[in-house]
């Protein structure tokens, strides 16, 4: 489809954009033999995505505790793309099949917190987390737009 040079440049644009425009930290590229191109993962400055059902669980837990729960940001996957590209459902399916829901490095650490009875909402950060990738679409003027793509039927955050 595209030359490796092109992909590297694309990744770099997205990586820089995440780091310097959106203040992401721990931004890294992730290579894997069954991936069509390297993915990026990193930690946004604030929570980027809360599943509507997770929100319900959090509100319930907050009510029980009587104090608000701090929403720590989660490490997210990012797929760098160029606007001129075309992807088929088959390619997206293969991509989702190749990745874990939680990017590498953080899974173990988060798992430690999975204790206590009021931790239902915590499951959303581990086993209950669905596969999602941030589509970072780059145009030649260096505009980058970010859209979530979820694997499967996921209800919208606002409705």
């Amino acid at each position: 489809m595209a030359s490796p040079d092109h992909i590297t440049a694309l990744s770099k644009v997205v990586l820089n954009n995440l780091e310097y425009q959106h203040d992401w930290t721990q931004v890294k590229t992730h290579e894997q033999p069954n991936l069509p191109r390297p993915l990026i993962y990193g930690l946004p400055p604030k929570r980027l995505y809360v599943h509507p059902d997770e929100q319900v669980d959090v509100i319930k837990a907050e009510k029980e505790r009587g104090k608000p729960i701090q929403q720590e940001p989660e490490v997210e996957w990012v797929l760098p793309l160029h606007l001129s590209e075309k992807w088929s459902p088959a390619q997206f399916a293969a991509l989702f099949d190749a990745i874990e829901a939680v990017p590498p490095g953080v899974a173990r650490e988060e798992a430690l917190h999975l204790d206590g009875t009021d931790a239902r909402w915590r499951l959303w950060r581990g086993p209950k987390r669905g596969k999602r990738i941030l589509l970072a679409t780059v145009q030649d003027d260096s505009t980058v737009t970010y859209y979530w793509i979820h694997d499967g039927l996921v209800k919208p955050r606002q409705n």
């Binding site: 995505y49 606007l83 459902p89 399916a93 679409t137 970010y146 859209y147 979820h150 919208p156």
Partner: protein, 306 residues
């Protein structure tokens, strides 16, 4: 969808390539038990340019018709050949029964008219009593007017004066003539109807089936810019959650389409859902042709807010 679904075979009439349902019971049944709303298309005969508050018949998409046939709860009757063939084999008994049925309908209609008339009379009389100077007018309500018009001879009956309060019961008239709205009683439903096949025109059938099997209702998606609007339950109760498009498994989607649809979906508080059927392992080549048997993968796109 649930265990207590009543046994029923929905008659889907294929007329000029469209799939229509004329029986209100069937319409209720497929909506309640099979998650199919379809689209009301009928206008009133008096108002053919009507485009709001439409009524029977209900028009099904070809994928909806196919789903009903595949589930075994509906069958497709090709009305043109069906009517001709069954009318030609009609015997005397059937004819008699049909005439009897028409007569009964006429009597029912007359009873309804009379009840309606009595109600109006009572109303006017009450008004007359209430007002010092009685000045009742002829009913101009189109519904009542048409009801009177349809009652045939009684319209010209001299006993029907412009002042309904004075009006006496019209002399014994013939029951009003009626135009049957369906031919259901003319052509009794065979005990084991054979369905003709649905045209395999819809490539979005696998996605449609996938959504329907998960309890989602769909309506045509034009108003939100997709193939379908997808509701998590009956559209009377819920807002749509997704706008959905169906693609081929290897169909290449321009990135701009995804961004555009994602943006559009977010703007109307929905997510953009797209899906495709993974072509199954070909078993004798039949599976591929039919569709709706392979695994369907769907993806949802929303704006990330950054």
């Amino acid at each position: 969808m649930d265990a207590t679904v009543p046994e029923r075979r929905v008659r889907i009439s294929r007329i000029a390539g469209r799939y229509l349902i004329f029986d209100i019971e069937d319409v209720v049944y497929i909506r309640r038990h099979h998650g199919i709303c379809a689209v009301l298309t009928g206008t009133m005969p008096q108002n053919p340019t009507q485009n709001l508050f439409l009524g029977l018949p209900v028009e099904l998409h070809s994928e909806e018709a196919k789903l009903l046939v595949d589930k075994g709860v509906g069958y497709i009757a090709d009305e043109l050949t069906d009517h001709l063939s069954r009318l030609s084999i009609m015997d005397g008994n059937l004819r008699k029964a049909y005439l009897q049925h028409i007569k009964q309908q006429r009597r029912n209609a007359q009873q309804a008219f009379e009840e309606e008339k009595a109600k109006i009379q009572a109303k006017h009389q009450a008004k007359r009593k209430a007002a010092a100077k009685p000045n009742p007018t002829v009913t101009t309500n189109p519904e009542e007017a048409s009801a009177i018009a349809e009652s045939g001879p009684s319209l010209f009956d001299p006993s029907m004066s412009p002042n309904p309060a004075k009006e006496t019961r019209p002399k014994e008239t013939l029951p009003p003539s009626i135009t049957p709205t369906t031919s259901a009683h003319l052509l009794p439903i065979p005990s084991n109807p054979v369905s003709t096949a649905v045209d395999p025109s819809s490539s979005s059938y696998p996605l449609y089936k996938y959504l329907n099997s998960r309890g989602y209702y769909t309506t045509p998606g034009l108003r939100f810019g997709g193939d379908y609007s997808v509701y998590p339950g009956d559209p009377f109760r819920y807002h749509a959650h997704h706008m959905a498009n169906s693609y081929g498994w290897d169909e290449e989607i321009p990135m701009l389409d995804l961004v555009m649809s994602g943006r559009l979906g977010t703007a109307v508080k929905k997510s953009f859902l797209f899906g495709a059927e993974k072509p199954g392992k070909e078993v004798g080549g039949a599976a591929k042709e039919e569709g709706g048997h392979g695994e369907v993968r769907v993806f949802c796109i929303e704006w990330a807010g950054m």
